[in-house]
């Protein structure tokens, strides 16, 4: 396929020539599926669109030609801008529109009736389009689908949902060709399998990876603290770096850290350099303002989190600073890709470890980047909660034949091994609820018609199904506004965080200190507060964990005992660990116990991945509960688990006995918060629980009851129910790892190094900052309740009665 004349002229006029991989994409435009692996800045998106622009250049195609799907709304906006230039200037007869959650109802309706040539959308919006009865007409002439950032989508359920939608599109438009655009990944074959119609092959096209990135730790005047996550000590050095570069992106691992850092960066910014902040909890208006300023080149630096992670083109970024250990090597490499969007210039990135343990993590991550090993855990077993949602989605569009749909689903890579029985379970769940007690014969959601096809019993149910489409489960958040002052929106905080606030507490929001005034109709009302230091330093945010591969490297580095590669301060810190306690050794288990802040702590260094460490936390807390040690909770990372309770652990060995973990956890596991959380997410995706829509929740009414009640009820009366089986599958996949814990316990046996300390050890200190604490609802909670109740009654002067 050759470039059409107007487009060729457009390129020639600018002195541009196609990159080799762009030319090859054009040459292989007729492949049924094709995966392009290219570094950020390699003209990846243009490579994806060249065949489309070429095929549409003569103006003969009517209707939808190419569907572009990206994980981010902002990316769709960005691509629309980037396509507009060549289309307008080459005078191509091509209409491009986007369709995301922000698109108006009228526009959406028109797009289904009269689709543009190129439609830019997200997986959720695509699922919604497929759920309409006119989907067959909308997608009839579709020729190509371009899935951008497919490596990011392939990691989760959004990708699974998208691939199920693709299987539907393939039926509606049999000639559909698939193109995936991916950043550099370790196992492209896995992504190719994910993209292609099973069992079709999917060729992989690799672009020149470009020059190696210039990446190192940022040199700082002050040493990082022993513990801490914000990187505040490095602010003068970061500010210096910002001054020396055109535009700097400063990434943080959590919103809370980004907020705190931005706040202090601003206080130190004596020259008033234009610096902005961008993260997912900010109000949309605030985010759009920052994005616009960034595109216009008005900002010298932007403090950001994962909401800026994916391939948005932010113009002339020449430095990326990562505050805090990158946790995942892959995200580090992709973040580095933000810098220098010119293909042949090396990107420049500097790491700022936030504490001394993170120095170790950073050294390990830098090693991994140099070795070219990327981590990543891809899934090949399609989750069934997503399948349940897909079946309901298809039913909204019209009656379907179960066997045809089953075959379609099996053409999706992750679902290629799905059994008919497993499919039928999902169909039965969508139709009847799938209960042992057949209670809903009259109210079935799906009915089998006389001709054997399935369809909605009541077409009005489609509305509810559509409202619940999508696989992103947000934690419940509350909007934050200034009291009075026209109720200016500031952003959102998690409901759990809001619940811990008392009037007068100060916290950071949008880079400023605000004072909590009260809750009004599910809005957190705050007032501005002139103080510089917030009282409540943090709010919850996205949880990052170190990848297992990186944890392995860290363990090796610690075990080797050769700390020469480290800056002085970190070497001193590790030496101090050796003086105060000891280092974890292979084949043995280091256990530290110490009191801190009125609680007794036990820290176990297992280095076997967060899932396994979490399972170990469950096992240990169960045995502590049985032994009357009053455990209160635990938090797991990839290298250790920290348990706290009311009483000290003096004997570690009995807690670590391997007499059948599964049996030991029976009953304990199902009652645990981890399982209930997993159930809730799966139940929302599968359609058992409606999402809480803003506006639908009302404060004055008796609120809907918690999903925990449904979970407990199912366990009691219908323990074999599909939702419980899915919950268990999900837990095994995401949170529970029996195998590695058993291996650990068998390897260690009685080789336990128990060090009893009078205070927290250097190595354990960072664990106190980990997110994702799991509460234990045992006897200790009851004891604490009784004490607190007595205190409250005395304080109020109420006599016990």
């Amino acid at each position: 396929m050759d470039l059409p004349a107007p487009l060729a002229r457009y390129f020639a006029d600018r002195g541009w020539s196609l990159h080799p991989h762009q030319a090859e994409m054009l040459a292989r435009a007729n492949e049924p599926s094709l995966l392009l692996i290219a570094p950020t800045g390699g003209g990846k998106t243009m490579a994806g669109f060249l065949p489309t622009l070429t095929e549409l250049a003569d103006g003969t195609h009517t209707g939808l030609h190419t569907l572009y799907v990206s994980p981010l709304k902002a990316l769709a906006n960005d691509i629309k801008r980037n396509l507009a230039m060549p289309i307008e200037e080459a005078g191509l007869p091509i209409r491009v529109e986007d369709r995301t959650g922000d698109t108006s109802q009228t526009q959406r309706k028109r797009q289904r009736a009269d689709p543009p040539h190129i439609l830019l959308t997200t997986p959720e919006s695509l699922a919604l389009m497929i759920s309409y009865p006119d989907a067959a007409r909308t997608f009839a002439g579709l020729k190509r689908i371009v899935v951008d950032e497919i490596h990011a989508l392939a990691e989760g359920k959004r990708g699974d949902q998208l691939m199920l939608c693709l299987s539907r599109l393939q039926t509606l438009a049999p000639g559909l060709r698939r193109v995936g655009l991916s950043a550099t990944v370790d196992e492209p074959a896995v992504i190719a399998h994910y993209l292609a119609r099973h069992p079709d092959p999917c060729p992989i096209l690799r672009a020149d990876p470009g020059p190696a990135p210039d990446i190192a730790m940022l040199e700082t005047r002050d040493a990082p603290p022993w513990a801490g996550a914000g990187g505040r000590y490095a602010i003068p050095d970061v500010l210096e770096a910002v001054k020396r570069h055109k535009t700097t992106l400063i990434f943080h691992n959590t919103r809370a850290q980004a907020e705190v850092f931005f706040h202090h960066l601003w206080l130190a910014n004596e020259e008033a350099l234009p610096i902005g902040i961008h993260h997912g909890a900010l109000a949309r208006e605030a985010r759009l303002r920052v994005e616009a300023a960034m595109v216009a080149g008005e900002l010298r630096a932007i403090v950001a989190t994962g909401s800026l992670d994916l391939g948005i083109d932010w113009g002339d970024v020449d430095l990326v600073i990562q505050i805090g250990a990158p946790k995942k090597v892959k995200s580090l490499v992709q973040r580095i890709g933000r810098a220098n969007h010119r293909y042949n210039a090396p990107s420049k990135a500097r790491l700022v470890p936030a504490n001394r343990f993170e120095v170790v993590e950073c050294v390990a991550a830098l090693d991994a980047v140099r070795d070219g090993t990327l981590d990543g855990d891809l899934r090949l077993d399609g989750p069934r909660d997503v399948l349940c949602q897909h079946i309901a989605c298809v039913a909204c569009a019209g009656d379907f034949d179960a066997t045809t749909l089953f075959e379609e689903v099996r053409s999706v890579g992750p679902y290629s091994t799905l059994s008919r029985a497993a499919f039928d379970d999902c169909l039965d769940f969508v139709a009847t609820g799938g209960y042992a007690l057949r209670a809903y014969d009259r109210y079935q959601r799906l009915k089998q018609r006389a001709d054997g096809t399935w369809g909605l019993r009541d077409p009005r149910a489609a509305r509810l199904i559509r409202m619940n489409l999508g696989t992103i489960i947000d934690t419940d958040t509350l909007k934050v506004r200034f009291r009075g002052r026209g109720g200016l929106p500031l952003g959102e905080v998690e409901e759990g965080f809001a619940a811990t606030l008392s009037k007068g507490d100060t916290f950071l929001m949008g880079g400023q200190v605000v004072r909590f005034e009260g809750l009004r109709e599910l809005i957190v009302e705050v007032s501005p507060n002139p103080s510089k230091e917030p009282k409540v330093a943090t709010f919850m945010g996205y949880k990052w964990s170190t990848s297992v591969q990186l944890a392995d490297r860290i363990q090796e580095i610690l075990h080797a005992g050769d700390f020469r590669a480290f800056p002085d301060h970190t070497r001193e810190w590790l030496d101090l660990q050796l003086t105060r306690s000891r280092m974890p050794e292979p084949g043995r288990l280091l256990a530290e116990t110490f009191p801190r802040d009125g609680r007794e702590h036990l820290c176990l260094y297992g280095f076997c991945g967060r899932n396994a460490m979490q399972t170990l936390g469950l096992l240990v807390t169960r045995r502590m509960e049985e032994a009357g040690l009053d455990p209160l909770g635990f938090v797991a990372t990839d290298y250790a688990v920290l348990v706290w309770g009311l009483r000290p652990v003096t004997e570690v060995a009995p807690l670590m006995a391997n007499d059948g973990i599964r049996a030991a956890l029976d009953g304990w596991l199902q009652g645990n918060a981890v399982m209930k959380r997993t159930f809730r997410n799966a139940a929302i995706i599968a359609g058992l629980i409606d999402r809480n829509f803003p506006g639908k929740r009302s404060s004055g009414k008796q609120a809907t009851f918690s999903s925990d009640i449904l979970y407990d009820t199912l366990h009691r009366y219908d323990p074999e129910h599909l939702m419980l089986r899915i919950t268990e599958e999900e837990a095994m996949r995401g949170h529970i790892d029996f195998g590695r814990v058993e291996l650990l316990l068998d390897t260690v046996e009685d080789r336990i190094d128990h060090v009893a300390l009078d205070r927290v050890s250097p190595l354990a200190a960072p664990l106190f900052l980990e997110m994702g604490r799991v509460p234990i609802k045992g006897k200790a909670e009851g004891r604490m309740m009784a004490e607190e109740a007595a205190r409250l009654m005395a304080e109020a002067g109420l006599p016990p009665d």
């Binding site: 009847t432 609820g433 209960y435 007690l437 209670a439 809903y440 009259r442 109210y443 959601r445 009541d458 009005r460 149910a461 509810l464 759990g496 619940a499 811990t500 809750l519 009125g598 209160l632 909770g633 359609g687 058992l688 629980i689 409606d690 404060s699 004055g700 009414k701 008796q702 609120a703 809907t704 009851f705 918690s706 009640i709 449904l710 009820t713 199912l714 009691r716 009366y717 219908d718 129910h721 604490r773 509460p775 006897k779 909670e781 009851g782 604490m784 309740m785 009784a786 607190e788 109740a789 409250l792 009654m793 304080e795 109020a796 109420l798 016990p800 009665d801």
Partner: protein
């Protein structure tokens, strides 16, 4: 751990039970409120989610346990026994039988609520309100001087412990008024801080948290 909480209300010795039931031993009275039987059925009928259809069975099992342990002379269901009238009509025969067995040999009074004007075809009698000694039992708190026991609001209270918050259905009480928690398995709660509840209860009101352990705290507001 205590699984019930004894207290004095308007001069009478009463017991709040972990299940959310109120027991008045000297009168042989067991009071439960807001059973909302048939909620899953009603949600499905309205085209909503197909929830696990076991909540009637679960609610009645807990009620049977309370009846067995307190052996009351009379049971009062304080309104909103059924999620709606249709739910009362479609009660499964097994559940109907279970209720009949429970009501055998004792007085059973269905106070009418806002969801269920008067249940039909069940043992017992319907009433808008019941009075026992000087205490009036009705569904929604009234304007009278009391003493009075009601339901309707599904109160719940939250305690902040260090690092965690515990939220439970609760009994609210002051000198003249008591509001019972919802007893039904599929019932949510209304925070005690809600203006509707704050307006009803005196400043010295207390909340007794149901569940285990039971504790009494000043009503959070």
């Amino acid at each position: 751990m205590r699984d019930d909480h004894a207290f004095t209300f308007a001069g009478h010795a009463m017991v709040a039970r972990a299940s959310g039931a109120l027991h008045w031993p000297s009168e042989g009275l067991l009071v439960v409120s807001d059973l909302h039987l048939g909620k899953s059925d009603r949600v499905a009928r309205d085209g909503g989610a197909l929830l696990p259809p076991y909540e009637v069975r679960d609610t009645l099992a807990r009620l049977a346990a309370d009846v067995a342990e307190t052996a009351p002379r009379a049971v009062v269901s304080l309104g909103d026994t059924f999620d709606d009238m249709a739910a009362a009509a479609t009660l499964a025969p097994a559940d109907r039988d279970a209720l009949t067995v429970l009501a055998r040999g004792r007085e059973w009074i269905w106070v009418t609520g806002n969801h269920d004007p008067a249940p039909t075809g069940l043992p017992g009698t319907a009433a808008e309100a019941v009075t026992c000694a000087d205490v009036t039992f009705r569904h929604i708190a009234g304007d009278g001087p009391g003493p009075e026991v009601s339901g309707h609001y599904h109160p719940k209270a939250r305690m902040r412990l260090r690092g965690r918050a515990v939220s439970r259905p609760c009994f609210l009480r002051d000198d003249a008024r008591m509001i019972l928690p919802a007893y039904g398995t599929y019932t949510g709660g209304l925070r005690s801080e809600d203006p509707a509840l704050a307006a009803l209860m005196a400043p010295n009101a207390r909340a007794i948290l149901a569940g285990s352990p039971m504790v009494e705290i000043p009503m959070p507001r």
